[in-house]
């Protein structure tokens, strides 16, 4: 399944050269959620680059992950405007709520947590982003509710599917 995903991306980049590396990594991560070892090796074969070079580029950038992310991906903005409005406490509250640290995925695979240097919605600070949806002006209290709503939504999905 991994290989199919990766090959599908690579088909869109025939005769690709080095400058397509980052777009390819982005597309593979989008399709598959993270960059697996297999994926990196396949990309290397396609671009005629050793896997070590690809890891060198991929680990330089914050965007790339090497482990699967949770069903719900939580991003906490740690920009200056959010910091001034208490994002450090927000981050602590989320860590406690999810019982995971930055860069980790919860054991049940439901949540992963990431910090972002600045999400660019500074007028609405502090901001968090779950699965691409912004939540503005959050507080240590409101984040617990926000997380509970995503937890509930994915439990409902599960029971519908089973």
């Amino acid at each position: 399944m991994v290989t199919a995903d990766v090959d599908l991306v690579l088909e869109r980049y025939p005769n690709a050269s080095r400058d397509s590396l980052i777009p390819i990594l982005q597309d593979v991560q989008q399709a598959h959620g993270y960059l697996s070892r297999d994926a990196v090796v396949r990309i290397g074969a396609h671009l005629r680059l050793p896997a070590s070079k690809i890891y060198g580029v991929a680990t330089f950038y914050n965007q790339f992950r090497f482990q699967p992310q949770g069903v719900n991906h939580v991003q906490v903005c740690r920009g200056t405007a959010c910091h001034v409005k208490g994002s450090a406490a927000i981050l602590d509250a989320i860590k406690r709520e999810l019982k995971i640290d930055i860069g980790q995925t919860s054991r049940d695979g439901q949540f992963s947590l990431e910090i972002v240097a600045c999400i660019g919605a500074c007028g609405l600070a502090p901001v968090i982003c779950v699965n691409g949806d912004f939540h503005a002006g959050v507080s240590t209290k409101s984040v617990a509710k926000i997380i509970a709503s995503y937890r509930k939504a994915s439990q409902n999905d599960k029971s519908e599917n089973s």
Binding site: P23, Q26, A117, C122
Partner: protein, 582 residues
């Protein structure tokens, strides 16, 4: 449908079509739908508005627009009445939207209590045309003019000229505001050198922070002999607290594309790249749509305006590295490498992307170009200061009352920005300092509020606010915590290439941690200072010295607060967790 636009009568036709949707002969409900608006519920407002229109069977349309800049009042909704008068409402909810639309349909009630202001006129900056709308309409009583609001009255919009006035996904609507007239004039009626002369005479400087004269940069690239040249738009807006580039891309993408087209023609480039932060998905979507539309209508691609000239633009997503805002690191990243800065010289204007002459300009710079061509260099040069003509965008954030994006001429003071436009500090608390112009600028005290903003620091006269983010800090902020935060940011973003930045930031962060936890000694403070000075002078690139800059500036202005943390083991602002464990 997608007839090519080749001449000015084609532009006129598109303008008429755009005007018809901008000001329809019926009620138009306009929802501010840039990221800030969406974050606080613009989509819910939009569906409430649509269902109200449908349920009541009203002769009305519901449309999206970009961001008008008043972020602190989002979500925003506007009513555009038949005839063109527009009324703007802030802090909307779906329920208020329903009531407003239903009330207006029933009795013409404009709910003055919810309104921020009405637009009695509108200036189309690209053409200079000013339109006035009748204020005779019923029910305007109690609704101030938008142009008279504290937040608006000092502003002068050039870069943000069409933001919040048009649907960013509509090529016709941007053309209705004069977009692509500048490109038409440049490509069809002007020689490349004349275009460069105009940009040079306008005095436009790069808006990315370094403030290099744009005309000079273009001339150097034009003079460089090469078989290929490139133009690049730097939209890797990584500076915490700055989001004006995102707003421009989300609200008026064609302003940037038109600027790049003019620049490409001027230097002789046929290919351009826009490097956008991956954290800006909506901006990327809108930009890609804009490029598609422009290509379909012959405004990008081959034989633009029927001339032999061709220009292709590609969007590249950044992958999350602050350093890629530095132009040579950005070029490295475009080539598919880790974004580590290059040695300069050679500068990108002679050897940039794939070793070819490359002009890299910021979003705001590109968006400033077209009006210079249509209105003339002299018009532009009249705004701003002698050193830096024109306007730029600031974001007012933190503890300021009117949070949002404002565009003003250079030369305005920080006090005017914070107290006149920004309305002062929330709760009328005392202002303790500002974190302004980018993380590397550290924190500055209120004693500098009366300096005029320019692109250089001149003692007692001007202050440089590089990247435009202005975060107001009230008396509840701790400057040791701020310094720790800023140094921590640069530590996180260090690329690891050189020892002073990689290891120095780590040690500075460690020492600041000790001080903020109440374990610092006077010796730590002097060590910190010596270390910061060493890192500043020894780091390989500009970014390497930024963390120490931030620290040294903050320390210079707020030394006493550092000393209190060390001597009394106390955080006066109560932010640092001294004695409370971590």
């Amino acid at each position: 449908m997608s007839a090519p636009i080749r001449n000015s009568s084609d532009l006129d036709r598109a303008q008429a079509a755009g005007e018809a949707t901008r000001h329809p002969q019926r009620l138009k409900v306009l929802v501010g739908s840039a990221s800030c608006g969406v974050a606080v519920g613009a989509r819910e407002i939009e569906s409430a508005a649509s269902s109200t229109v449908q349920e009541l069977g009203l002769d009305a349309v519901v449309c999206r627009t970009g961001c008008i800049g008043f972020c602190g009042r989002e979500p925003m909704l506007d009513l555009v009445l038949p005839g063109g008068l527009r009324i703007s409402y802030g802090n909307m909810t779906p329920e208020k939207a329903r009531q407003l639309i239903a009330g207006y349909a029933k009795s013409g009630d404009l709910q003055p209590a919810w309104a921020l202001g009405h637009f009695h006129n509108e200036e189309l900056v690209s053409t200079g045309e000013v339109r006035t709308y009748s204020e005779q309409s019923v029910g305007l009583k109690g609704i101030p003019r938008w142009s008279a609001l504290d937040f608006e009255s000092r502003q002068k919009k050039v870069i943000l000229r069409n933001c919040g006035l048009i649907d960013p996904n509509s090529l016709n609507e941007t053309i209705a505001c004069g977009t692509y007239r500048g490109a038409f004039r440049a490509l069809v009626q002007m020689e490349p050198d004349a275009v460069i002369d105009a940009v040079a005479e306008s005095g436009l400087r790069g808006r990315g922070g370094a403030a290099f004269p744009t005309g000079q940069k273009w001339r150097l690239a034009r003079q460089a002999a090469a078989d290929r040249k490139y133009v690049v738009c730097n939209a890797d807006e990584g500076e915490p607290g700055a989001y004006m580039d995102r707003t421009v891309l989300e609200s008026d993408p064609h302003a940037v594309l038109e600027g790049m087209l003019i620049g490409a023609y001027a230097i002789g480039a046929t290919e351009g790249f826009i490097y956008v932060r991956n954290e800006y998905p909506l901006a990327i979507e809108i930009l890609e749509n804009a490029i598609d539309e422009a290509e379909k209508h012959g405004l990008l691609g081959e034989n633009i305006f029927g001339t032999p000239w061709s220009f292709h633009v590609t969007v590249r997503r950044g992958a999350g590295a602050y350093i890629c805002g530095e132009e040579t690191a950005l070029i490295e990243s475009l080539e598919g490498h880790a974004g580590e800065p290059r040695n300069r010289p050679p500068y990108p204007v002679t050897a940039g992307l794939w070793g070819k002459p490359t002009v890299v300009n910021n979003v705001k710079t590109w968006a400033s170009v077209a009006p210079i061509i249509t209105r003339g260099a002299a018009w532009y040069a009249k705004m701003g200061t002698k050193r830096t003509p024109g306007t730029t965008i600031f974001s007012l954030e933190g503890c300021v009352k009117n949070a949002g994006l404002v565009e003003v001429p250079f030369g305005i003071t920080l006090r005017e920005l914070i107290y006149d436009i920004g309305g002062g500090i929330v709760g009328d608390r005392p202002l303790k300092g500002l974190q302004a112009g980018g993380a590397s600028r550290g924190c500055i005290p209120p004693s500098l509020l009366d300096l005029a903003i320019d692109t250089e620091d001149r003692d007692g006269e001007t202050i440089m606010i590089g990247t435009g983010g202005i975060i107001a800090l009230d008396d509840r902020a701790c400057m040791v915590d701020m310094a720790r935060f800023l140094v921590g940011f640069f530590l996180e973003e260090s690329c690891g290439k050189c020892v002073p930045c990689r290891e120095g930031s780590k040690q500075m962060s460690h020492l600041l941690g000790r001080i903020s936890e109440g374990q610092g000694t006077p010796a730590d403070l002097s060590l910190l200072e010596r270390l910061a000075k060493t890192v500043r002078s020894a780091a390989f690139c500009g970014m390497g010295s930024m963390g120490s800059n931030a620290l040294l500036t903050t320390l210079t202005h707020f030394r006493e607060e550092f000393e209190t943390h060390i001597r009394d083991k106390k955080c006066p602002a109560g932010v640092c967790r001294i004695g409370r464990g971590r």
